[in-house]
Symmetry: C2
Subunit: 242 residues, 2 copies
DNA sequence: CGCTCATTTGACAGAAATCAAAAGCGGTGG
DNA sequence: CCACCGCTTTTGATTTCTGTCAAATGAGCG
């Protein structure tokens, strides 16, 4: 029922306001979800990481575009076929509900970021999230606590689009954090976090706000080759529903 | 299993990062969902209108506060009791999934508003949404097309919090729209839209973006007294699942 | 009628976008 | 191995938008 596709960076998988023909999940690489204003201004409303679900079930059309932010390997299935699988497997539909509820909480968390954090706070928040993501991917044992490296998988341009700012502003703030000794710049996409507490303070977020990033974000789907499944922050590999 | 409560404007129904003890739906009035930064800055991440569902199923804690933006009448049920109802009624869980998917699309639409629309565009977008909401509530026959009145149910302060701006900025833009003849100010919360096309142009949104506001937002829950149920823009009253 | 609170209007300041130029980085080919 | 080219990132100067502070006006209400 499903098939694997490799898509080059920049290619569109589903167009904005187009037919919601397929759903699927990302195997490798990162997808971006974008919305565009009439004059061309564009906002990245979400990023889809390996193991995560993408697409729009139960709708004929998409609300935003799904594009490859990096070269991606994805597994796709016809949307209607997927819906009929869900109808036959309530436990899978339940899993999708849990994922969607988490995504919703996450999307609303982003309202806080875009609505009332300044750009320095946004950069700090992003670094904290990248750090958290990395800590989850590496299992507890493999993670040396003194090597707190935040890795940004996407281009600076996409990062700016995601944080609702510009590449210039991000550059300035990253270097400001470096000068203050909060981070060490390894290269344009790798940052060693020297003072996580300070970064948290600079983000303006409450400790509890970061818990959100450890929630269920991945739902193992009944198709595709095994992907990393993350459930409540505990990483397990090689999970497969069917 | 459920009970009706009346809550005064300003009261908190569920606290941020508190126990997600109950879920429910709004019968009358408007609730706001808020998140607060450590220094007190606050963002309204969502509004809950009559007939709409609120609360956080399948989580022990809330990600944001639910407060009464106006005096509200709500119907509440213990969260765990609700979850067990869902477990026994897959069709209800399915309905909740559809609602959650729509809410998610809506939350992401708001990322566009907060991330790359200027404050005038946000005000224009809000007026268009209020107009759309009103057109849906009034059935086709009752709606005189030449009376395009956008009604804001919430205080100016809450509106500012929702649009990620200030009351002063909103005031300036509303009066600018009035001077340009795009709207007529009836009073602080009622605006007659004189030129909907111009408002749409000023919002920067594509026509299709507004369709989103006509999607399923209400799920009839198996408790509470009958509420107005809106399904795909068609208003029906007195619907009840049980 | 006067009180309180919300809204409007004005002046000003600060944050961040924009525009422009320089520097850095990576790949290619001589 | 090094020079060259194109692209991304960084840095600087300037402008614009919008938030902040403060005062005036208006609406609602006892």
């Amino acid at each position: 029922m499903s098939r694997t596709r490799v898509v080059d960076a920049g290619e569109t998988i589903l167009a904005e306001h187009g037919e919601a023909s397929v759903v699927g999940n990302v195997i490798a690489g990162v997808m971006r979800m974008t919305k565009t204003l009439l004059d061309g201004r564009q906002q990245i409303v979400g990023l889809v990481y390996p193991g995560e679900f993408f697409g729009r079930p139960y709708s004929e059309t998409t609300e935003f575009a799904y594009e490859a932010a990096t070269d991606v390997e994805i597994c796709v299935i016809d949307r209607r076929a997927f819906e009929s699988v869900l109808a036959r497997h309530p436990e899978l539909e339940h899993a999708l509900l849990l994922t969607t509820l988490s995504e919703l909480a996450f999307a609303r968390e982003r309202s806080l970021l875009l609505g009332c954090q300044n750009t320095l706070e946004r950069v700090a928040s992003y670094l904290l999230v990248m750090l958290e993501r990395r800590r989850q991917l590496l299992s507890g044992a493999a993670l040396e606590s003194h090597k707190l490296v935040a890795v940004s998988a996407i281009s600076r341009r996409d990062l700016a689009g995601y944080l609702g700012t510009t590449i210039e502003t991000i550059s300035r703030h990253v270097h400001y954090l470096s000068r203050r000794g909060v981070i060490r710049i390894i290269n344009a996409s790798h940052f060693e976090v020297l003072d996580r507490d300070e970064l948290l303070a600079l983000s303006g977020l409450a400790q509890d706000d970061l818990k959100l990033f450890g929630a269920v974000r991945v739902v193992a789907m009944p198709f595709g080759r095994p992907v990393l499944t993350i459930i409540n922050g505990a990483a397990r590999s090689e999970d497969r529903v069917f």
